[in-house]
């Protein structure tokens, strides 16, 4: 026992100085260490805060961007709105020489071309979406879906040049004469399809817009169709429904809100589309009863005339047109987003 005690004491005695030195060294080192760590932590906290601040500012910048667009357009259009007042929205005259400007013809053209586009694109889009979700063999779904979506990737100006050089001459030579002859004696329709076959005009613009918005309607409809719970469809099939009946009475009612959202999103695109329309609309500042006649839209007017506009009132009138366009698309897109958000919540 004593031997053991001696041994430990001896060992302790031997080790004691070493331990002490090491301990003192550690005290010095630890103090430095703590200070360095504190500094490092401060640095990190600072960079952490800076990074957070940067991300937050960027998010707020996005908000400011939209505010800036609204403000700039509003201020830019003030001279025209002051000059013409409410008349600006109701007058059809567009005369740079006498400086009388009214927005009615472009507003009419914008709404009518978009309406034509939606009347063509919605049924087509829904049918394609049905094909992709219900009928198409699995291995073909992805390639066809991609091909339809590539339509959305083609730049607007390409549609314009194609519409002007390929589609419009084709319509002029092969389609419009027949249409005009067919409806010439039908009351009502004769006014809608009257006049010489120009090729370019309101209807051609609407048709091109239809091709351009088709992918938006298709891809959103497909997404909401795919989100229908399979049990619902299986139950309907189990009752002996045909594919068409399942689509008509189960899938469409279930996805109504989402489909409308997709349609509105496409409408938002059609309303603001510029280059394609500029090429084929014909740029006539008048409202004519015939859909085959040339017309103009808000965006086409701005694109065509902005750099040639002389005088503040002319420029300001064009910016006021831009403000109207922004307002219309804002409302349509806001409704679309709201509807899509609702269906997203229900699915999620």
């Amino acid at each position: 026992m004593s031997a053991h005690a001696v041994m430990t004491r001896e060992r302790r005695d031997e080790e004691a100085p070493v331990v002490e030195v090491a301990w003192e060294g550690q005290v010095v080192g630890a103090r430095q260490d703590v200070e360095e760590r504190a500094k490092a932590l401060d640095r990190l906290r600072l960079s952490d805060n800076i990074f957070k601040l940067m991300t937050r500012s960027a998010a707020i910048f996005v908000l400011a961007l939209l505010g800036g667009v609204m403000l700039a357009l509003f201020l830019g259009s003030l001279p025209a709105l002051n000059e013409f007042g409410l008349d600006f929205f109701l007058s059809q005259s567009w005369n740079p020489v006498t400086e009388k400007f009214g927005a009615l013809a472009p507003i009419y053209g914008t709404l009518v071309t978009s309406l034509i586009a939606m009347m063509i694109a919605v049924p087509f889009g829904l049918l394609i979406a049905m094909f992709l979700t219900e009928l198409c063999p699995m291995w073909l779904r992805r390639p066809i879906g991609i091909a339809i979506e590539l339509l959305a990737g083609i730049p607007s100006i390409i549609y314009g040049i194609w519409g002007l050089f390929v589609l419009a001459p084709f319509l002029q030579q092969h389609v419009q004469p027949g249409v005009i002859a067919t409806f010439a004696n039908v009351p009502g329709l004769s006014a809608l399809f009257a006049g010489p076959p120009y090729g370019i005009g309101i209807f051609t613009a609407g048709l091109i817009l239809a091709i351009m918005v088709l992918p938006f309607v298709t891809s959103i409809s497909r997404d909401v169709f795919e989100a229908v719970p399979p049990v619902l469809k299986e139950a309907a099939y189990g009752l002996g429904c045909s594919t068409w009946e399942v689509m008509r009475y189960v899938v469409l009612p279930y996805t109504r809100v989402g489909v409308i959202g997709g349609v509105m999103l496409g409408l938002g695109r059609a309303l603001g589309e510029t280059m394609a329309v500029t090429f084929v609309i014909g740029n006539a500042h008048k409202i004519s009863s015939s859909l085959l006649a040339p017309g103009t839209t808000i965006s086409a007017t701005i694109a065509n005339e902005f750099t040639e506009a002389v005088g503040d009132l002319y420029t300001s009138s064009l910016i006021a047109l831009g403000l109207i366009l922004f307002f219309i698309t804002f409302v349509v897109l806001a409704i679309a987003r709201y509807l899509l958000l609702r269906i997203e919540r229900r699915i999620g």
């Binding site: 952490d48 939209l66 700039a72 357009l73 394609i128 198409c136």
Partner: protein, 265 residues
């Protein structure tokens, strides 16, 4: 249901018709000269060099300005303010900006840059395109960061990694291919844009890399040449259209392949 198949065939035929016309009209004009000579006056030979260079400069600048802002804003929405009010407002506004008419963006930049500066300029065109880049990048960045599993964030936090480093070293790395996809899509979107350039960068018949002066761009040249009465200008417009379409489609296919690879792994 026959109608459904028919609609799909017609939808696909539009794509075929447009691409077919582009190749038919534009392919024969494709030669080395297009890339080495400037836009000609009507009646003489030339290429699209100044327009291609102008487009490249504007696109690169737009991406350089727009991408950092977009990524940072998307980061805030996914990493810091996932559940706060600001995020939902920004998300809504960003979606509106994403589909806002590009001509309106052009008017906006005209008001805030071109008018104060007193003249059209390449930099104004690039800023207008940057405004179009931002919402695309914000959207994809947020979506991709939201896909990063929270366990990775927790693991980083448990070893004491500060939040900013966790985002930079872990979250960005995990979401990298998705964010790059977003940038590619933004480039594809921007490189075909014409409307916002018409009254910001305007156009230039000559070779110019001066950012403070009007600058040519492919879409603007196509617009001008296609609507001109000269056959040789129209021919060049078709060639330019083919070049833009091929590069845009290539970009979106690459972007798709990137997301596809990520999904399957």
């Amino acid at each position: 249901m026959v109608a459904s198949v028919g609609a799909t065939l017609i939808g696909l035929s539009w794509l075929a018709l447009i691409l077919g016309a582009l190749f038919w009209e534009g392919f024969s004009g494709l030669s080395l000269r297009v890339f080495t000579e400037n836009t000609p006056p009507p009646g003489s030979d030339g290429g699209l060099l100044n327009a291609i260079i102008g487009s490249l400069i504007a696109t690169v600048l737009a991406v350089a300005i727009g991408t950092p802002i977009g990524i940072l804003a998307g980061t805030y929405m996914a990493e810091y303010g996932r559940h706060d009010k600001l995020t939902s407002v920004v998300r809504f506004i960003n979606d509106i900006l994403l589909s806002a008419p590009s001509i309106v963006i052009g008017l906006f930049i005209y008001e805030v840059m071109v008018r104060p500066m007193g003249h059209f300029s390449g930099i104004a065109g690039a800023v207008a395109l940057a405004v179009i880049v931002i919402p695309v990048v914000v959207r994809t960045t947020e979506d991709m960061l939201l896909l990063v599993p929270n366990t990775m964030r927790e693991a980083a936090a448990s070893i004491g990694l500060p939040r900013s480093l966790m985002i930079q070293k872990i979250a960005y790395r995990a979401a990298r291919s998705g964010i790059i996809t977003g940038i590619l899509l933004a480039i594809a979107r921007v490189s075909g844009e014409t409307a916002p350039l018409l009254f910001t960068a305007l156009n230039n018949q000559f070779y110019s890399t001066n950012l403070n002066a009007p600058m040519a761009s492919l879409p603007a040249v196509i617009f001008q040449f296609a609507l001109s009465p000269y056959k040789d200008w129209q021919k060049l417009a078709w060639t330019g259209a083919l070049i833009i379409t091929l590069s845009v489609l290539a970009l979106s296919i690459v972007a798709r392949a990137l997301t596809g690879a990520r999904k399957s792994s």
